[in-house]
Amino acid sequence: MSLISCNDITKIYKVGEVEIKALKNISLEISKSKFVAFIGPSGSGKTTMLNLFGVLDKPTSGTLKVIDTDISKLNYVERAKFRGEHLGFIFQNFNLIPVLTVYENVEYPLIMVKSIPTKARKEKVLSLLDAVGMLDQKDKLINQISGGQKQRVAIARALTTDPKIVLADEPTANLDHESAYKVMRLMKKLSSEIGTTFIFSTHDPKIVNEVDITYTIEDGALIKREERSN
């Protein structure tokens, strides 16, 4: 069963009078429980691709279905609800809320996006913090932890709402190689344990050894699909 299905999608940005074709006639399908990477140089269209999968943007043409929903038909609020219901996000700059503690950051989507009872919420947050190895740091503020730790918190936060898909745009770009490798291993482990599909972008080919499927994008076009059996 396909979680994401895109058929001949194109994305064009208008900058003044100039039209920039960020994605060109891309068709692909991503199925459940996969660990998928989009690789390519800066400006190749990886982030645009993830923005479309993340229901943050709409394709200019073509059909994009995420979890059997045609995202072109959703309005602003419906898209927000859809994201909260089905998707998780990990950002390159972590984008954690600095005034909240590690625990509260992970708890945030369960309060603001999905409302669940306090006891269940607490259990969920603690188990995720344990899973990413941040339980002992739960009461610290975000500026009191390292970059690698921040990204682990961001991973835990992305998983709190039990999303079907987690999208990570360059999740290791701001990390040193060792931290980047640990974050990749953690995402892979959680993907197989929880059954969540992870889709991330990177321009660093060294960290994609763990992935199931690699899509290579250049100049907005999908040029290669590689499937690995790890």
Binding site: A80, K81, R83, G84, F89, N95, M112, V113, T161
Partner: protein
């Protein structure tokens, strides 16, 4: 909701200096409003009390058309005995009225046998007058209050005549028929002049006025009324208007005219000016709160654009993002109000214990005793909180409408 409030509250601590500065500006605005309202209110209440309690009373009743010709003190437009009885019955039935008294106002000449000068005189019934104008006696600069055969001379005439207590004076007046009569009187006291329509009048006994004016029956120029509660002014005025207004003469015209102190004293326009200034200060406060909170919240949205993008990407609904910023602005308003109210109460306390006096006209020792009511405090706080919400609406809506993809791109 609690968690949205928690996040909003903590957001105040991101830019501590800026938040405290904004709260300080709002608090200063609240201080300006409450201190001015309390001080100006104290001055206004002092003056109103001085005018109503030392001469006018709270409400006056005259014969129709009397007030418009008050400068001439006409004796042909008095309220006659039969009308007085009807009116007294009505006044006795109104529970809000504490007391009322009759006065005859007349113009004449006073002479100390060496010099003469014109004078305006209010003839009063001393016992009743004290109930309606309890501060009248306090205006005595020297001497004793009035008895029959005596006069309370206004200080301006007493100074001109170089009169002393116990000196003899002759009052000469023309009655309604045109006959000129004189009455020897003894000076029992010298009255301090005050601001107001009858502030420089002399006083004689009601019976002496009847005598000099050759009045066989009871006639009065005005009826002065004191209320149990000053706040019932409009209510009693309406009742009197309705009940006395229905009493008509043969030509089906109303016999009486009723005025509150406001219509009789020029100080009312000054009181209105004080209220206007109070309103302007409130408008300035609104401006201060609006500009400072809007400014700080616009900055907050600008600085947190990327964060708004990320929480929006996670699926936070626009309404919740809006609420988060609304609460933040609300907290600034609430904090500013609370601190401003505390500082204001301290400032009012200090002014009260400092015994500061000001001058107004001939009153050189008006003691400022600022007081602020709970209603005024509540109103000011409500204005601030309401304006804080208004100020934050635009930035909050802007934040909630940000496209996450655009917001996430911002550095």
């Amino acid at each position: 909701m609690f968690n949205i409030i928690k996040i909003s509250f903590r957001n105040l601590y991101r830019q501590k200096r800026r938040s405290f500065l904004t709260i300080g500006i709002v608090a200063f605005g609240v201080l300006a409003v409450l201190l001015f309202t309390a001080t100006a209110g104290s001055f206004k209440n002092f003056m109103i009390s001085e005018i109503t309690d030392s001469m006018l009373g709270h409400i006056q009743i005259h014969g129709k058309g009397y007030v418009s010709s008050l400068d001439n003190l006409p004796l042909d437009n008095t309220i006659k005995a039969t009308q007085i009885n009807k009116m007294a019955q009505i006044l006795d039935e109104i529970p809000e009225i504490e007391s009322y008294t009759y006065r005859i106002l007349l113009g004449g000449m006073v002479s100390n046998y060496l010099e003469s000068t014109s004078a305006k005189i209010s003839a009063i019934i001393p016992a009743k007058e004290k109930k309606v104008a309890p501060l009248l006696e306090a205006r005595l600069q020297e001497g004793n209050f009035l008895r029959k055969g005596e006069i309370l001379l206004p200080e301006i005439i007493a100074k001109g005549f170089k009169s002393k207590i116990g000196d003899d004076i002759v009052l000469i007046a023309t009655n309604v028929d045109g006959s000129v009569n004189g009455l020897p009187l003894k000076i029992s006291g010298i009255m301090e002049s005050v601001v107001g329509p009858t502030g420089k009048y002399g006083y004689i006994h009601f019976d002496d006025a009847k005598s000099i004016l050759r009045m066989d029956e009871m006639e009065v120029s005005e009826v002065a009324i004191r209320l149990k509660n000053f706040n019932d002014l409009e209510k009693v005025y309406s009742i009197l208007n309705e009940k006395l207004g229905s009493i008509k003469n043969k030509n089906d015209k109303p016999i009486f005219e009723i005025h509150t102190w406001e219509k009789l004293s020029p100080f009312y326009s000054i009181a209105n000016m004080i209220d206007m200034m109070s309103l302007f200060i409130k408008i300035i406060l609104i401006g201060i709160v609006l500009v400072s909170i809007m400014n700080v919240m616009i900055m907050a949205v600008y600085e947190r654009t990327k964060e708004i993008g990320s929480i929006s990407a996670m699926g936070t609904l626009p309404s919740k993002i809006r609420l988060m910023f609304l609460f933040e602005g609300l907290f600034l308003g609430i904090y500013g109000s609370i601190i401003g109210i505390i500082i204001s109460l301290i400032a009012i306390f200090i002014v009260n214990i400092s015994h500061i006096t000001v001058s107004f006209g001939r009153n050189s020792n008006i003691l400022l005793q600022p007081k602020v009511s709970l209603a005024q405090i509540g109103l000011t706080a409500l204005i601030v909180i309401f304006v804080a919400i208004i100020a934050v609406l635009e930035p909050a809506f802007k934040a909630s409408k940000l496209e996450p993809i655009e917001a996430l791109r911002q550095n």
